[in-house]
Symmetry: C2
Subunit: 201 residues, 2 copies
């Protein structure tokens, strides 16, 4: 498996040595000796490589945000989160990444863009740059509508529910620690900062 | 190494089998067969276990947010982020977690709380619950002041700079994709939702 390349060119970062400690279809752990721009001496680091992701803020015509409730084995909990998914193609371009986002939106929520609408790209983020190259691309979908057939989640996923929440409710859930999913939190930060979302009721 | 326990009790999640694929002092990769509350059939999942983290929003007396610029080997980039660090003690209680946050604040920024101030806990988050149990505890430090001696970062870290940014500037950096660190984004979402931060200039 080839995992996703970084969203930026990394010149001046010289990989002196790299050893694969573990790899399967989901992730690879490497031990890397890397010379960074600030230091002549290479540093040894353990890095987890993963596929990149898409993360989608989907707003209905009455300005509610779609959240799914998903069982997450890694944390032994079912949590509310925005729809998201992995990009299987290693060198996906912008249009292909947007297509993955749209497919995940349809599958996980049973909603889709209206005929003339497009996903609005909102940049990217790094999940936890202390140990993983995992990164994700944010998208905003406005005025989404239910599709015939409803949700068609992947068999490997365990999505228990999908609901539309008012923005005031989402703000309250974030403030009260009821939304603990990092994708949802970081996407809301980007939307709030860009003036594309307001929590005030 | 024992990694950090989850911040919640996980009843009804039965681990049928678990195998360690790789482990060092930084992380452990396990292959786990887990029965979740929603399905009788156990599912197989690859999980990366890590220590829990603290993530700190530090506001100066003139209401600027402290950000550090840190070289991150996993993503081959130096990025602006809020101060953060790992909790070494596996079963740290609330006071011990807050003490780690305060120590990281001092070391990474060279600022500290004023004599009568305390860190305000703001709940927790999961970094990327699709594959890792890594979670972090948010804190707010208001009215921080420079300390004698300045920054004293860990030798293993590569913090290039620390600066205080106006909230309007932080909002602009988030909107423009200049802040891509997930800790910073998710912490800002919590603060904005709780009415503890405002980007409007």
């Amino acid at each position: 498996v080839t995992f996703s390349p970084l969203p930026h060119a990394a010149t001046d970062w010289e990989v002196v040595a790299s050893e694969t400690c573990f790899a399967n279809e989901h992730l690879a752990v490497t031990s890397e000796e890397v010379r960074t721009p600030s230091r002549p001496q290479a540093r040894l680091w353990t890095v987890v490589h993963r596929k990149a992701a898409v993360v989608i803020a989907a707003l209905t015509k009455d300005d509610k945000l779609l959240l799914i409730q998903q069982e997450r084995i890694a944390i032994r909990a079912a949590i509310w989160e925005v729809p998201a998914g992995q990009i299987d193609q290693a060198n996906a371009d912008e249009a292909e990444i947007a297509a993955v986002a749209r497919r995940e939106l349809r599958e996980e929520t049973g909603y889709d863009l209206s005929a003339n609408d497009r996903l609005i790209p909102l940049g990217h983020f790094f999940s936890s740059p202390g140990f993983t190259d995992e990164h994700g691309y944010f998208f905003l979908a406005r005025g989404v509508e239910p599709i015939a057939g409803g949700r068609t989640p992947d068999e490997s996923e365990a999505i228990l529910d999908c609901r539309a929440f008012s923005l005031a409710e989402v703000g309250r859930m974030i403030a009260k620690n009821e939304i603990r999913d990092a994708n949802t939190l970081r996407l809301c930060a980007r939307l709030l900062a860009a003036g594309l979302l307001h929590f005030a009721s």
